[in-house]
């Protein structure tokens, strides 16, 4: 049972901290910082399901976040649906899209799949930039009426924040649950040796398509919430290639394959990035530093931060997973 795992309660505690900290004293700037960290954790955790658990690199993970944002904003603004329903529907729509796509391209092994994900990102961006109902390359804006149903703009932003924190907690819980399930074991088997896994009766194509689709759901919901909060969306913000790449850096930095690793990497990297972006000297070089960091991790510490902690304190595996 997942309730008996100590790490489950740690996740809830962290989420509670995220909720309490900015509420205390109505600290809006802290809230904005925490939102970015929460988004980083959501992206890194769900990417971990692909890279860390299954051993498949997804270079276009941001597609889910952007598409979720588009579907969500379309439903709230054009259709006038309420936020929670739109976000959930956005998640479902994007997951189904990912499942169909996954069944087609996940017959591809390892590297071919990684290449296909780069193509998906460019293809989806090209499609959205030409798609009339979504405003082509100028994108869409939120109408202010959408805030009314949530009790005005100020109220709406807080509600969105709590929802994003909930998605963050859920991302980590889903990662934990999958890690401790038979399904998760199947994924690990695929990661270690796909041929052997198939021989032992793991339906690899199906497993990969399902995890691809699962890893799409929460980022899409988060995208719908985040772009609702921002009030606008356009193809270059929604499918920001850099964010897709940085997601991989976060995950490798924290430690692929580990739930806390993804979260830790996400929050540390986000902190580092906001420091670099505001520093006058380094702001132009943040991508260089991120790339250098990734190279160092790949060459010298493939287990990331958590791999290092595990080596130092082997018992830690039992508590933080």
């Amino acid at each position: 049972m997942i309730l008996r795992r100590p790490f489950f309660w740690i996740i809830l505690l962290v989420a509670a901290g995220f909720v309490y900290a900015p509420l205390h004293g109505n600290n809006v700037s802290l809230r904005e910082d925490l939102i970015l960290i929460a988004i980083a954790i959501i992206l890194a955790s769900n990417l971990n399901l692909m890279i860390g658990y299954t051993g498949y690199v997804n270079f276009g993970h941001i597609v889910f976040y952007g598409l979720g944002g588009y579907v969500g904003l379309y439903l709230t603004t054009v259709r006038g649906w309420n936020l929670v329903l739109s976000a959930l529907v956005a998640g479902v729509v994007v997951s189904v899209f990912a499942l169909l796509f996954g069944l087609a391209i996940l017959r591809l092994r390892g590297a071919y799949f990684a290449l296909a994900t780069i193509g998906i990102l460019q293809a989806v961006q090209a499609f959205v930039s030409n798609f009339d109902p979504w405003g082509r390359s100028t994108g869409m804006y939120l109408s202010f009426n959408s805030y009314q149903s949530l009790g005005g703009a100020r109220h709406a932003l807080w509600i969105t924040y709590f929802l994003i924190i909930a998605v963050m907690a859920l991302s980590m819980i889903v990662s934990l649950a999958i890690k401790n399930s038979k399904f998760g074991l199947g994924l690990f088997a695929i990661r270690e040796d796909e041929d052997a896994a198939v021989v032992l009766g793991v339906n690899a194509t199906m497993y990969k398509a399902i995890i691809y689709s699962v890893s799409a759901f929460l980022p899409a919901v988060a995208g719908a919430l985040m772009f609702f909060k921002n009030g606008m969306i356009d193809p270059s913000i929604a499918f920001e290639y850099m964010l897709s790449l940085e997601g991989i850096v976060m995950l490798m930095l924290g430690g692929q394959g580990s739930v806390i690793g993804a979260a830790l990497g996400g929050s540390l990297y986000e902190k580092l990035r906001s420091y670099l972006l505001t520093s006058p000297v380094l702001s132009n070089f943040h991508l260089v530093i991120a790339g250098g960091l990734l190279l160092m991790v790949v060459l010298f510490a493939p287990g990331g931060l958590i791999g290092w902690v595990y080596r130092l304190v082997p018992r830690a595996r039992k508590v933080i997973e």
Binding site: G110, A126, L294
Partner: protein, 287 residues
């Protein structure tokens, strides 16, 4: 109708350059089983190398291809010893990520130095006019250069000791080592040649279209499509497949907006991967 024909011929000319770019990717992939994700960044560096050389000297841009090849070989050796040597033979995930990290660094430095605004190489060769259509001299010269370089590579791979050693290592690294071939030296040479091809094709593209530091990404995707189309480790097949892709673009561009092209290429990529996993020219399983 003749408009489509002209567009097709133009597509074939540009396609030869795509083919040259894909040869670099295909060579590295075939020899050391590494998918080189620095490919796009190296194409972009080739573009800027040509831009800087041309700005400095002002001589015929196609003569400047020779120093560009030299720069490419040097870059290739640097990248090989920085990021690739240590991951050859480890899991695919690691080589994907390490080349990808180098890609981020190159793009980061490039963006800091040149920003993302467009540049162009202002060199024009006189064109050839047939009826109502003019084929620009640059397109013709670029296609001829691409074919000449491809032929030179083919001669190198099949008729020199080093070239034969590269093919031997690609076939079976252990057996090649038992025959006294130093596989490390061969791998670094092959990688350097692959990068040099990417840089050269970038330099050729820079004489045709305006470019930014991010332009490499588009040609990287095209190179993947072409490599998959040709089948792995078949450099000369890549040239033919590149011409085919150019032809396809030439056929469709008169009818649809250019911004749809990534979607079409991606569709082609998936269809080819699923329908012909060994490539159209491939015979045996390699993957």
């Amino acid at each position: 109708m003749s408009g489509v024909l002209a567009s097709m011929i133009d597509g074939v000319l540009v396609g030869a350059v795509y083919g040259l770019a894909a040869m670099g990717l295909s060579l590295i992939w075939g020899v050391m089983d590494v998918i080189n994700l620095t490919h796009g960044a190296m194409i972009a560096l080739g573009m800027f190398c040509m831009y800087l050389l041309f700005a400095a000297t002002g001589i015929n841009a196609y003569v400047l291809l020779l120093p560009t090849i030299g720069v490419g070989l040097l870059l290739g050796l640097i990248v090989y010893w920085m990021a690739v040597h240590w991951v050859v033979g480890r899991s695919m995930l690691m080589s994907l990520l390490s080349t990808f990290a180098v890609n981020m660094m190159v793009i980061g430095i490039g963006t800091a130095v040149w920003s993302t605004s467009p540049y162009n190489v202002n060199f024009v060769l006189p064109g050839i006019t047939i009826g109502a259509y003019t084929f620009t001299g640059n397109h013709i010269a670029a296609a001829i250069s691409a074919v000449v370089i491809a032929l030179a590579l083919q001669l190198f791979l099949y008729h020199t000791r080093t070239g034969k050693a590269i093919r031997a290592v690609a076939d079976n690294r252990e057996a090649a080592e038992l025959m006294g071939i130093s596989s490390t030296a061969v791998l670094s040479i092959a990688f350097a040649i692959g990068i040099a091809l990417a840089c050269t094709s970038g330099a050729l593209v820079s004489t045709l279209f305006p470019f930014t530091i991010l332009s490499g990404g588009v040609y990287q995707l095209k190179s993947f499509v072409v490599t998959i189309l040709a089948g792995l480790g078949k450099p000369f097949g890549a040239l033919v497949a590149g011409v085919l892709l150019g032809l396809l673009e030439g056929v469709v561009t008169p009818f649809i907006a250019v911004s749809w092209i990534p979607l079409i290429e991606f569709g082609l990529f998936v269809v080819v991967l699923v329908a012909f996993p060994q490539g159209i020219f491939g015979k045996r399983a390699t993957a």
